[in-house]
Symmetry: C2
Subunit: 439 residues, 2 copies
């Protein structure tokens, strides 16, 4: 084993907002100019009142992220330019040990000045109407296709696809953007508002198109029903806890109502919502499908599924788990070692950039090498169709080694053997440590 | 160690619907007669069309639950009478090894003929308006006070308290019903509809009253936003998975926004929603409060909390975990051994009655005796103020022994020692088995 091929399942890119003007269909430019002016007024107002959005950090945080070091150099200024500049971006990926990336919109760490038009971000939500949102998506997609073309093979660019509104328009945009070079998949809104939810067969044309073009469907954090939280101290923690649920929600809506039965080659990923919840989802879903005692009286839990939910999961779904926690890695045999895709969330401050090497060491030091290789990159290769022949030379130059991560298979492999054997205890009937079966 | 004092944190009681007429304030009786007629028409229609509610079971299930044995005897008919008859009820508890119980409304296993008036069940949701719902709650509460008086000390009866509508009326009813003998706590609607959520200080008079009277606040399963699921095959599994989240949701709304900081002696329980999710809730909530890396940029996650969320949990909250799964017991040191209260869900078919002894053996065979004693009954004593001197003689007559459960501390205690020591790994920094810290 040489150097790991590390791929980030979760990065963000996009230009400063005014740049989008040139990528918008002309009829939407006047409206975009208005939106830009409104947004700038909001930013100015916040700056004047010293009342920043709670999502952009307090003074201590901003000092860390935007401040200067002892010698007066900006801490992250150059690196943050990688949000839109392809050459800088590749340098930052190199420095972080990352050979390739899956690119979402929204590079803006904490300033609010880089949003795509009309809400076409990594959580697409219309700021005007469905028509404008789709126009914004086209603008982002055109820009992203250029960024990806600048470093062939190193980026899987995602297509913003606001499917809950103008579905036919979104499907047409998926085909257009795919033809233009965005081959990484599509991003759908995790919440459907007043539209039909993702159990509805209305969305079948989207699933059929994505299956045909081999485009994984993505939901990215962090939506949540903030309107329910009220403006009381601590609401931010309610948001932080619930956004995981609301980001991942389309997954079980689709999984349990047979979308992957109808579209057996459709792929799906949930990104930057952790993966700790996956083991319990699969346990509960499998047990319901098998009509466990607590759900015996319920009719129709199995629906149209011919396999167990965990079997569809293994076949169709992966998790863009970003900065994997040790707590999550401890559950990897239940989640599925092949289903977890690490990511650095470049250039967001909640990710691991520019300290990925240190993070990887603190998280993976006792994980077997073959499993680390899958979680850090090989799973992404299979899912997104990256070209290993093209990427391995980059990895051989920048990737971390097992030694860098403090790994020793002579210790790690025996340590985990009972858990690997137990796998999913509710299916194997084997117990290991505190991971018990369900009987 | 003799016989376990077993208390069920989750049982259901109530008469056949027409009986409620006598317990209703006279001005609501005509409306109740109408509701009864409508309900009966629905039941008749379902019976004719052979299209039962998906919540009442298929033919195979109904044969199991309502059928006859080889000798022509009704399988559960006599026992089900315990839903409303105090003498039968005590006999069934005895047979199940249960010394005492925490009583919710809704004994109806699967027929739809025993609902309390105007939606005043264990998930209070108005079928007419807030005024009628409160009248229905008074009717149930009066009936329940009589049932509890029939077996002094053996039942903690809960007060149906629809606080989201007529708050002042609900507070008055809490005081009235408490004075009448319902001392087990209150049941609130887990969903708030168009009303303010439980982060709102609007509900402070409820919390203050419950703190004053030492009445734990309860949410009982299974609400869910069914209107979002659509009528597609498999929606029942979406419901089954999500009802856990939506039942428990008030807990983190209250916990994270400081209700237990403002009301340090207020108690709360979430009932029949399992407890598997508690360990991850506490982990996430604690990590956010400590501003872990992934939430560093967010402002105000700690809110007004002066302690960690898990510390409030240990002080103020317990889980009515009903039929505890082994998977859940495996996490008991993270959840807190003192925070789990087993229950048999009598007389619902998804519970353990009338097979509690077998269920307990299959779940607890390797759990240390002192921990079993707490989860099966001692935790309930502390939380609800049961009188052990009164109950122990019943337990000595009917309770199971450690031998009955196949337990041997010489094996169990060493088996779990590393996990007990690790406790909550995110706080202790200790790891055991696959339970890892968060660094």
């Amino acid at each position: 084993m040489g150097r790991y091929l590390v791929i980030s399942s979760d990065t963000h890119a996009g230009p400063n907002s005014p740049v989008y003007r040139d990528y918008l269909d002309p009829k939407y430019r006047a409206a975009f100019d208005e939106e830009l002016a409104e947004r700038q007024a909001l930013i100015d107002k916040r700056r004047e009142s010293a009342e920043a959005s709670p999502f952009v950090g307090d003074d201590e945080f901003k000092e860390e992220w935007f401040g200067v070091d002892d010698e007066g150099n900006s801490l992250h200024e150059i690196g943050l330019r990688g949000g839109w500049d392809a050459v800088t971006r590749d340098t930052e990926l190199d420095n972080d040990g990352v050979a390739a990336e899956v690119v979402f919109p929204g590079p803006d760490a904490a300033t609010g000045t880089m949003g795509a038009p009309f809400g076409a971000g990594f959580i697409p939500v219309a700021t005007r109407d469905d028509d404008h949102l789709l126009a914004g998506a086209r603008a982002y997609n055109r820009w992203a296709a250029e960024l990806c073309a600048a470093s062939p093979g190193r980026r899987a660019g995602l297509i913003v696809a606001p499917i809950v509104g103008d579905l036919d328009g979104a499907v047409a945009e998926i085909r257009r953007a795919h033809a233009e070079g965005l081959t990484g998949g599509i991003i759908i809104p995790p919440r459907w508002g007043d539209h039909e939810s993702y159990t509805s067969y209305r969305y079948d044309p989207v699933w059929a198109t994505c299956e045909e073009l081999s485009l994984p469907v993505h939901c990215h954090s962090g939506p949540a029903p903030q309107e329910e939280y009220g403006e009381v101290p601590g609401w931010m923690s309610v948001y932080g806890y619930e956004t995981i649920f609301y980001t991942a929600r389309p997954l079980w809506f689709m999984l349990l109502t047979g979308v992957f039965e109808r579209y057996p080659r459709l792929k799906m990923a949930v990104t930057e919502a952790g993966c700790y919840w996956v083991s319990d989802l699969l346990w509960r879903a499998d047990m319901m499908a098998m009509r466990e005692h607590g759900m015996r009286k319920m009719v129709g839990t199995r629906g149209t599924l011919t396999m167990l939910p965990s079997e569809y999961f293994d076949r169709n779904i992966k998790i863009g788990a970003s900065n994997t926690r040790r707590r999550e890695l401890g559950r990897r045999y239940e989640i599925g070692v092949d289903n977890i895709m690490w990511g650095n969330d470049f250039p967001h401050p909640e990710g691991t950039w520019p300290y990925t090497r240190e993070f990887l060491k603190s998280r993976f030091w006792d994980i077997p090498v073959d499993e680390t290789a899958r979680i850090l990159g090989l799973n992404h290769v299979d899912f997104y169709g990256f070209d290993v022949d093209l990427l391995q030379p980059i990895a051989d130059r920048v990737g971390p080694t097992p030694e860098d991560l403090g790994q020793d298979d002579a210790v790690s492999v025996p340590k985990w053997a009972p858990f690997k054997e137990a796998g999913r205890p509710w299916l194997t009937g084997l117990e290991a440590g505190a991971s018990l079966t369900d009987t």
